[in-house]
Symmetry: C2
Subunit: 239 residues, 2 copies
């Protein structure tokens, strides 16, 4: 409910059709020529619409990227959910989900740099860190909730609560690496995933030890604070 926000309200079947057409055309062209090389004029023309019409549905060229997030996220979920059923331990569940994410993004590697650039801009409405209400982000974190839920190992409540967010941030880090990774078949990224998933798993075990309670509390408080700070950014415009 609260998840849907600024999404341009389409009020007419015809309008919906136009919107979809423009969007698909744009994504096709991004894939084919890259983001920078694809002009709004070209998108409009190929979609059989006018330039202004494209801007009626998408506030800016960047906003088209939001739709891209959504599309690839849906694909990712479609692959990940069935795959998760085969695993019940944290390590292999996390490994599965992260590997499949990269798998999903693979075709877009060439212009992924742009995505990250806009995502990292604190001012951008697309920054997934800054926008708590961003539906794609919420859905994305939900997937990691599922990863955690299906785990049998004993994890303290406080850590368990924060874990989906932490794993989501971790997977964003992997994506960042992948964007930079020029190795053949992204081997480096896969190796990194293997290693770091292992480490993450161990750290969760370690952090679940009763011994670690004070340190864990401390660290989780810090994480909370970081999260708050990131999310305050957009509020500044609401005054």
């Amino acid at each position: 409910m609260a998840a849907m926000r600024k999404k341009k309200a389409v009020k007419t079947p015809k309008g919906d059709q136009t919107r979809t057409l423009i969007l698909n055309t744009a994504l096709d062209m991004f894939l084919e020529r890259g983001y920078e090389q694809t002009t709004m004029r070209a998108i409009a023309e190929k979609a059989g619409a006018s330039l202004g019409n494209a801007y009626y549905y998408f506030r800016s060229k960047e906003h088209l990227i939001q739709a891209f997030y959504q599309t690839t996220h849906d694909q990712h979920v479609a692959l990940a959910l069935p795959a998760l059923e085969k695993h019940d331990d944290m390590k292999s569940r996390l490994l599965t989900v992260v590997q499949l994410k990269i798998e999903t993004l693979k075709p877009y590697h060439q212009f992924a740099g742009v995505l990250f650039k806009t995502a990292a801009d604190p001012q951008s409405p697309l920054n997934p860190f800054a926008d708590e209400a961003n539906p794609v982000r919420q859905a994305s974190i939900q997937l990691f909730e599922k990863v955690v839920e299906g785990t049998k190992s004993r994890i303290p409540k406080d850590l368990r609560a924060e874990l989906p967010y932490l794993l989501w941030v971790y997977h964003m880090g992997i994506i960042l690496f992948w964007i930079h990774d020029r190795s053949p078949k992204h081997r480096r990224t896969y190796r990194l995933i293997d290693r770091t998933v292992e480490m993450v798993d161990r750290m969760i075990q370690l952090g679940s030890n009763p011994f670690m309670r004070p340190l864990r509390k401390h660290a989780l408080a810090l994480v909370d604070e970081l999260r708050d700070a990131a999310e305050d950014v957009l509020d500044a415009d609401d005054n």
Copy 2:
């Protein structure tokens, strides 16, 4: 030597003067009106040069930012070096340097977002992570070498060698937080610095323990790999 690279070679006193004038004018205007609001035309006009002339000295508007890095870095060093003389333990040395960095950047908080945005773009020539040869980055890491050098505590060689780079990355993280931080007087950032410096210090102690050797080796190898991957990005254009 190898540190100076693409820097536009100025071959004439007159040229040098023009270059400096344009640069200073640009930085002034960035401070006054922000980066986006300052147009190349406005810079050129105020500097008494032509538009094309500005582009003769600076390949793009973004390249003017490189000069900004340089300027603030110089200021930072000027503050940090004397201050470091008063401390000989890791914790207070690191605290000093990082606090002073934020101090130095303070006047530019309003448009710092732009800086980070361009810095985070893997394609950008300004990405400090991707460009090993970037003189500003080298100088910046050197400062953290000094932080480590002046420490009396015993740190294993392998860790000591990697530490300046790690601390530099840590301080980039702090800057990232600060950019997002809208709290009055950046209190949140200073609190974060207090806490994390403490943690970093403890982790260095922990990691220096002979017990930790295997884990440390493992982690350092990972760091090395991450670093390599980041720096390979620019090479791809050299073919």
